[in-house]
C-alpha cells in the first residue's frame, strides 16, 4: 500500500461528504417542503426541517391532485407510470431475449440484415423522429392507450446486444447435450438458456424500469386524457401551476412520489443496477 497521509484522508472524506450533501440537498428541501403548510413555505427562508402536514399533503395529492395543474389524482398517474415502466421493462427483455436467441442459435438467410436493422434503432431515439412517429401511432388509433404508451418503446438494440454477448459465452456443450437428449430449440431456451440468464435479466430490469418510469416526451405527446397521464410527464404543468397558486407544498409531494419508485429500485437492487449500467453501456 502507498503511504498514508492523514491530512489527505481528511480532505478526501470532506470532499465526499460535501458531494453527498450537494447531491442530497435539493431532495431534502423538497422532502421537507412536502410536509409543510402553504404559509410556512412562503415565508422566506424556506423551512429546513419537517412540518406537521405530511399526511394531509400526501393524501390530498394522491386523491385529488394539484389544483390548476390540469392533472388528475396522483394515485392514478402512479398506477399508469407503473404499468408503463413494467410493460416496457418486461416487453424489452422478452423480445430481446427472443431475437438474441434467434441470431445466435440459428443460421438462416437474412440473419445479418435482421441484426443490422435492430442495430439501427440505437441511432433513432424518439427525439429525432418525433412527428412521424406520432403520426404512425395516431393512424394506428393508439393515442390515449396503454398500448400506445408502451409498444413503440419496446424495441431495444442494447438489450438484444447484451443477451447476444451473453449467449455467445454459453458453452457449446450445453447445446450439444440438449440436442443429444432430444431437446428442441424452445425446450433448450426455456430450461437452459433462460435460467443461465437470470442475473443479466435482473440487471437489465433495473435499468429498463427506470427508463420506462422516467419517460417524459413520449407520454406527453400521445396522451391528452387524464386517465392515461404518467406522473413524470406532469412536471411542466406543476411548475406552471405554481404561477397561478403557490401550492409548493403539494407540488413537492408530487415530486417526491414521482421519484420514490425508481430511487427505491436503485437503492434496493444496487448490485444489479451497477452491473446493468456498466454492461449495457459498453
Amino acid at each position: 500500500m502507498v503511504e498514508r497521509r492523514p491530512l489527505f484522508d481528511a480532505i478526501a472524506h470532506l470532499t465526499l461528504v460535501l458531494g453527498v450533501v450537494i447531491v442530497a440537498l435539493p431532495i431534502w428541501i423538497v422532502l421537507v417542503t412536502s410536509t409543510q403548510r402553504m404559509e410556512d413555505v412562503l415565508s422566506a427562508p424556506i423551512p429546513m426541517w419537517f412540518g406537521d402536514r405530511a399526511i394531509e399533503n400526501y393524501t390530498a395529492v394522491l386523491g385529488v391532485g394539484v389544483q390548476g395543474s390540469r392533472t388528475g389524482p396522483v394515485a392514478q398517474m402512479m398506477l399508469n407510470s407503473l404499468i408503463m415502466a413494467l410493460a416496457i421493462a418486461i416487453g424489452k427483455i422478452v423480445i430481446s431475449l427472443l431475437s438474441a436467441f434467434a441470431i445466435v442459435y440459428f443460421r438462416f438467410p437474412g440473419r445479418m440484415l435482421a441484426f443490422w436493422t435492430i442495430f439501427l434503432t440505437l441511432m433513432l431515439p424518439v427525439e429525432v423522429r418525433i412527428l412521424p412517429t406520432f403520426e404512425v401511432v395516431a393512424n394506428l388509433g393508439l393515442l390515449n392507450s396503454y398500448l400506445g404508451l408502451t409498444v413503440p418503446l419496446i424495441a431495444s438494440a442494447t438489450a438484444t446486444f447484451l443477451f447476444r454477448q451473453f449467449f455467445l459465452t454459453v458453452p457449446e456443450e450445453f447445446t450439444e447435450a440438449a440436442r443429444v437428449d432430444g431437446a428442441g430449440p424452445l425446450r433448450f431456451f426455456w430450461w437452459i438458456l433462460l435460467p443461465l440468464s437470470k442475473t443479466n435479466i435482473a440487471a437489465l430490469f433495473v435499468i429498463l424500469f427506470i427508463y420506462g418510469w422516467n419517460q417524459y416526451l413520449w407520454p406527453l405527446l400521445i396522451t391528452t386524457e387524464e386517465r392515461y397521464q404518467t406522473i413524470v410527464m406532469t412536471m411542466q404543468r406543476l411548475v406552471e401551476a405554481t404561477d397561478a397558486a403557490p401550492e409548493f407544498h403539494l407540488v413537492a409531494a408530487v415530486a417526491m412520489l414521482a421519484m420514490l419508485p425508481p430511487v427505491l429500485v436503485v437503492v434496493l437492487m444496487q448490485r444489479w443496477f451497477v452491473k446493468g449500467l456498466t454492461e449495457t453501456e459498453k
Binding site: V30, T117, A155, E172, A258, Q270
Partner: protein, 294 residues
C-alpha cells in the same frame, strides 16, 4: 458471431425475430424515413398542397438566426454539462477510491440521482432557485444578487446546466470508480517507491489510464445533453426567457408540434439524426480500439 452448434428450425428463427423486427419497422425505420422524405418537402400554410423543394428546408434553417441560436445554446449547454459533470465525478471517484473506510456508503449515497428523471431534476432545482421560496435565491439575495431565471437568460441557462449536471454526476461517478478500481495497485505503488508525489501519480499514471473511460463518458454525456435533457428544458424554462435555453431537441418539438412547420421540423430531425449517427460511430470505433488494446 454465432454458435458452431445451431438449431435447424429456420422458420422458428423468423418467428422469434418477428416481434422485435415488426416494432422496429413500424415505429423506427418507417418514421425515420418519413422524416427524411418530409425534410425535402414543403407544405403551403393551409396544408392543402405539398411540393418537392430539395434542400431548401435545410438552407432555410441555416439562414435562420433562431436556428443558429439554438445551435449555439446547445453547444454552450453540452460543453458546460459534460465538462463540469465529468470533472466533479472524477474528483469524487478519486476520493472514494482513496478512502478505505466508508467507500461503499459514499457510493450508495452518490448514485441514486441516476434514478431521478431529468424533468424532476429540473423541478428540484427550480425549487432551490425559485425567486420567492428558493433557498439559494434567498442566499444570493442576501449576498446582493437578484436571481430570477424567468427574466435573466444567463441565469436560466445556469439553472438548466446545474440541474443537468447534478443528475449526470452519479452516472459518471460509477464509471470512473470502476475505471479506478481496475488500475493495478502495483503500478501506483511502484511510482510511490520511485518517489512520485500523489499529484504526479495522478496526472502521470492514473489519468492517462483512465482516458478510455473519460472518452467514453464524453460521448455518452454529449448524447445525454443533446437528447435526454429535453425534460429539464421543457419543464423548467420552456426554452426561455426568449430563446435563451432553446436547445435543438426542444426546437424540433416546438416547431413541429406547436408551430406545425412540418418541413422545417423534419429537416431539424434529420440534422439531429446525423448527429446521433456520428456520435454512435465515434463510440463504436472507440470500443473496437479498446478491445484491441485489452
Amino acid at each position: 458471431m454465432h454458435k458452431r452448434v445451431t438449431f435447424r428450425e429456420r422458420w422458428l428463427a423468423y418467428v422469434l425475430l418477428a416481434p422485435q423486427l415488426a416494432i422496429t419497422l413500424v415505429f423506427f425505420i418507417w418514421p425515420a424515413s418519413q422524416a427524411l422524405w418530409q425534410s425535402v418537402l414543403q407544405q403551403d400554410p393551409f396544408g392543402l398542397s405539398t411540393r418537392f423543394v430539395g434542400l431548401e428546408n435545410f438552407a432555410r434553417l441555416f439562414a435562420d438566426p433562431l436556428y443558429l441560436n439554438a445551435v449555439r445554446v446547445t453547444l454552450v449547454f453540452s460543453v458546460s454539462v459534460a465538462a463540469s459533470g465529468i470533472a466533479l465525478a472524477l474528483l469524487l471517484a478519486v476520493m472514494a477510491d482513496h478512502v478505505l473506510k466508508g467507500a461503499a456508503v459514499y457510493k450508495t449515497l452518490l448514485i441514486w440521482p441516476y434514478a431521478v428523471a431529468p424533468a424532476i431534476a429540473g423541478l428540484l432545482w427550480f425549487f432551490m432557485f425559485h425567486p420567492t421560496i428558493g433557498i439559494l435565491a434567498w442566499l444570493l439575495r442576501r449576498g446582493g444578487i437578484v436571481w430570477n431565471h424567468e427574466l435573466d437568460g444567463g441565469q436560466a441557462m445556469l439553472l438548466v446546466i446545474i440541474a443537468a449536471t447534478w443528475k449526470q454526476i452519479s452516472y459518471n461517478f460509477l464509471f470512473f470508480l470502476a475505471g479506478l478500481q481496475a488500475i493495478p495497485r502495483s503500478l501506483i505503488e511502484a511510482a510511490a517507491i520511485d518517489g512520485a508525489s500523489p499529484a504526479q501519480r495522478f496526472w502521470k499514471i492514473v489519468f492517462p489510464l483512465l482516458s478510455p473511460t473519460t472518452f467514453f463518458l464524453v460521448v455518452v454525456n454529449v448524447v445525454y445533453v443533446f437528447f435526454d435533457t429535453f425534460g429539464i428544458v421543457h419543464a423548467v424554462t420552456e426554452g426561455g426567457p426568449g430563446q435563451d435555453t432553446t436547445i435543438l431537441v426542444y426546437k424540433v418539438f416546438k416547431d413541429g408540434f406547436i408551430a406545425l412547420d412540418l418541413g422545417g421540423s423534419a429537416a431539424q430531425s434529420v440534422i439531429l439524426l446525423a448527429i446521433v449517427i456520428l456520435l454512435t460511430v465515434v463510440q463504436f470505433r472507440f470500443i473496437e480500439r479498446r478491445v484491441q488494446y485489452a
